[in-house]
Amino acid sequence: MSQAEFYQRDRERHPPALTPDYKTSVMRSPRAALISLQQSVSEITGPVFGHNDIDPIDNDLIHNYAKDGESAIGERIIMHGRVLDENGRPVPNTLVEAWQANAGGRYRHKKDTYLAPVDPNFGGCGRTITDENGYYFFRTVKPGAYPWRNWVNNWRPAHIHLSVFGTSFSQRLITQCYFEGDPLIAKCPIVKTIPTQDGIDSLVAALDLNATVPLDSIAYKFDIVLRGRRSTLFENRLEGN
């Protein structure tokens, strides 16, 4: 039975808690330093999901909330990629959840009051479980940009929110996926909470013409990397740990 720990999180790759240009973070960020833990069974385990938890339609946002015979309005896209760990190994059978605004930049949420209309055939959420190669895909419409109150005139670039579990609670991750070529990426205070350009680039999905469905949907590829894990220690073989 393996009890190996996961590599420590590279905090220089993630946004810090306090990022003043993203104003909401100012009063919601701890001031004390995080206490670093060596991992116990509480951290190296996490919830396990199976195909009984979800339905096959759940990853098709074009149809999973649409009336029979109808579909969501917008640019039809396939968002696909793999969930990997830092060792480059696929993470199979893990739950991936997605949510987004509709093509007009409006969320189906009782707290969203943006003037763009709700699409009656679009819920805006999906979920799937990676296959044995860590592969996942969603069928959806490309979300629209939308304004938000930060400075008086901020616009979020088009983005899809993604939630991923991995195999342990310490791998839990929520992020956002942006789209190649969007000029709003470089102007967004939330994107710019990420301290490095390399980190920002890793959140931009690439146009993937090879994966398009001709005369149907354009495709973007977005790989997700979760924390990697040490190999199990064998007392007679200390290398590799």
């Binding site: 919601r28 701890p30 206490i35 069974v41 509480s42 929520i174």
Partner: protein
């Protein structure tokens, strides 16, 4: 120049944003889409142990409730076993030990029902540090020793996301009726400032014959909850 290490880098976190409910709890966003939402039943019908409710509020640096927060919970069963293949032992059928908790949008109050977890086996020497660690050094907050291998007091692991939180915050909830176990807990003992330890202890009371623990989380400032880098 040297050779390149061929590790990949972890995908950076981004805030869950104000509309996190659409993805993780669409009913709360105001619509019904899935056959079943995940995380509403933490313990299932067959779990043994004491049935409890946990309630609280998340408070920001101005002292106001955070009304759009989402919390995930991860806990062992009453025997201290996690529903995961790497936790030694069995859990009851239907026990997942994982939950999703959302707030009342008006008040920021949240709550969840579960069973009280049991003590959890100590971490082993996991291949880091000395193979035969020295005896636990007590208040060794300089952290140059191994954390020690006492069993952990009953606890629930929490992960907190919201608009304005750039990367999910990890903390632990312990129980105030477990004072003896808490005093020996290797994680609580790692917190150098004794006066911060109580921020992780939920307070037990009874209401209408039900056991309720109160656990408020302060994101910032006086009484700031201890958060962990796990």
């Amino acid at each position: 120049m040297v050779q390149k290490l061929d590790y990949l880098k972890e995908t950076p976190s981004q805030t869950a944003g104000p509309y996190v409910h659409i993805g993780l709890a669409p009913g709360a966003a105001g619509f019904d889409i899935y056959r079943q939402e995940l995380g509403w039943d933490i313990a299932g019908p067959n779990a043994k142990g004491e049935r409890i409710r946990v309630e609280g509020i998340v408070i920001d640096g101005t002292g106001n409730p955070v009304k759009d927060v989402l919390i995930e919970t991860w806990q062992a069963n009453a025997d201290g076993v996690y529903a995961h293949p790497e936790s030694e032992g069995e859990v009851e059928e239907g026990f997942r030990g994982w939950g999703r908790v959302i707030t009342d949008f008006e008040t920021g109050e949240w709550g969840f029902d579960t069973v009280k977890p049991g003590p959890v086996k100590a971490r082993k020497s996991l291949g880091t540090g000395p193979l035969h660690p020295p005896a636990h050094a007590g208040d060794d907050w300089l952290g140059r020793g191994d954390e020690g291998h006492e069993d952990m007091a009953p606890h629930i692991n929490l992960w907190i996301v919201a608009r304005g939180i750039n990367i999910g915050l990890n903390t632990r909830l312990y129980f105030d009726d477990e004072a003896e176990a808490n005093a020996k807990d290797p994680v609580l003992n790692l917190i150098e400032w004794h006066n911060r330890r109580p921020t992780l202890i939920a307070k037990r009371s009874e209401r209408d014959g039900k056991v309720v623990y109160r656990f408020d989380i302060r994101l910032q400032g006086e009484g700031e909850t201890v958060f962990f880098d796990i």
